[in-house]
Symmetry: C2
Subunit: 291 residues, 2 copies
């Protein structure tokens, strides 16, 4: 193991901001090279000549320490040309993720790029930022049906049996997209064997039926996930999981609730589907209002 | 307003996955063109010929509906060549964010890119994914000092006076980076005028002094933020905010707690600084253990 780790190719994500863009695109590229052992590092906030010199020193050290002759790979998203050129002088293969595309966008828009603009993950529009922070607090307060206060402000209410992914998906929608989202459990953790709730929507949700989005899961997988929490329980039995999932799917169908199987999907993928559903609903509400 | 909106240039982020990478890099590029009115759309999961045809139809409609003759701008991250070429046939300027760089990475690594690999935001490594989901639950359970259970498992404990950004920063670290993070309020919301807690670290945190990270804020800004929540209160008075911030800064200094002013920083920027601090600490702990 240690020789394999030592032979790993150093990879750096270097940026004048948080390095989120460099990490995101760099990782999207590296996923196509699964067999190559990599040793990843992130160097954020490289926005001065001094910071660039420090980054180059770190990259140089890594190049010497690595048990491979191949030079480190460096992905950069640095706007300032002088700073970018200093980093490009590192003993490494440096791939500039912004520069070339910036020229393409300039040509497409017929406008010159403005130098020195804040990066995309800095504060930016304060009102939008505060809306996003408020959405996070709302999501925490409205996690797992804990609060019904101001439920009318929710843009989306996620519903599902326990352990289908409501909580992380809500947090993701709030944090990354500023969506005002509540989530509500369809079944109790201590439902007695064989018992299921009524076939109606839970009473607090009925005024908001058009904002619901349902999650389901494969019963086998759900049973595994529940067993990690409460082994050998009714809650985690395959029979109970199967019953709850079937019942939830019926409920979604009966009440026209759009839904999604969370089994093989990441929170990012679920959020993308839920956002697309929300956009469709908002567009059709707007059309309805215009008519 | 409506004519300005109508003249906005349609921009599409089109991807075979969640479109997070396309949105992230596309937005990082567009931030350099602040004067151009844009009408942004995201089309995720374009991974078949049919989905590509549907995307092209949507882009074509937008091109016709826009009150500008300039063609839409389309940022794509699509791996499959045939699907990518179908989207490239849209009546738009299409910028491929992956393709060119993939050739650069192939040359740098001396390895061919594997086609058809999962995208970076799909489930991927299940164990790592479950660790991240667990970190989110931990962060919610340990928000604002609500629970002291398993505090020894926290990698980072954020401390700060009320409203300095502990909660959103914790959620971001957990959700995006899988960091096990708790946060703990240094001052009560209903601290009587002029009163401050002791100069010692709060008792439950003392065993974990090396994992603490402190946040501060500009007292004026803090007073504004608090006033939005509880106007005309001691809690939101400038005098009280100033006292609490000074006291917290002294506490950090006295106990050697690394800290950060949250005033002009986004959660993404704070998370990047905290991660860098965590990496330095982990590296020096490792060095210490090896000696």
């Amino acid at each position: 193991m240690s020789t394999a780790a030592a032979a790993a190719r150093p990879v750096f994500f270097v940026s004048d901001g948080t390095a989120i863009t460099a990490e995101t695109l760099g990782s999207a590229l590296l996923v196509s090279f699964p067999g190559v052992p990599l040793d990843r590092h992130t160097i954020p906030f490289v926005d001065t000549a001094d910071a660039a010199a420090e980054a180059v020193a770190t990259i140089t050290d890594a190049a010497h320490a690595a048990a491979t002759d191949a030079p480190p790979l460096v992905f950069t998203t640095i706007r300032d040309l002088a700073v970018r050129q200093r980093v490009a002088a590192a003993p490494a293969i440096v791939i500039d993720l912004l520069g070339g595309h910036l020229r393409e966008v300039e040509a497409a828009l017929g406008v010159s790029a403005q130098p020195g603009r804040g990066t995309v993950h800095s504060l930016g529009d304060l009102d939008r930022y505060h809306d996003r922070m408020w959405a996070i607090e709302y999501a925490i307060e409205h996690d797992d049906g804990q609060s019904l206060r101001a439920l009318d402000r929710a843009q989306v209410i996620l519903i599902a049996p326990s352990r289908c992914g409501k909580t992380p998906t809500s947090m993701y929608l709030a944090l990354q997209h500023g969506i005002v989202v509540a989530n509500y459990p369809l079944t109790d953790d201590d439902l007695p064997e064989g018992r299921l709730p009524s076939d109606d929507l839970p009473r607090p949700l009925r005024p908001y039926a058009d904002r619901l989005f349902g999650l389901t899961a494969n019963p086998q997988r759900l049973a595994q996930v529940r067993a990690a929490r409460r082994p050998e329980s009714t809650y985690s039995s395959l029979a109970q999981c199967t019953r709850e999932v079937r019942w939830a799917e019926d409920l979604y169908r009966r009440h026209g609730v759009p839904s999604l199987d969370s089994t093989d999907r990441s929170v990012e993928e679920m959020a993308a589907v839920i956002l697309a559903s929300l956009r469709r609903r908002t567009a059709s509400e707007r059309e309805g209002a215009q008519r």
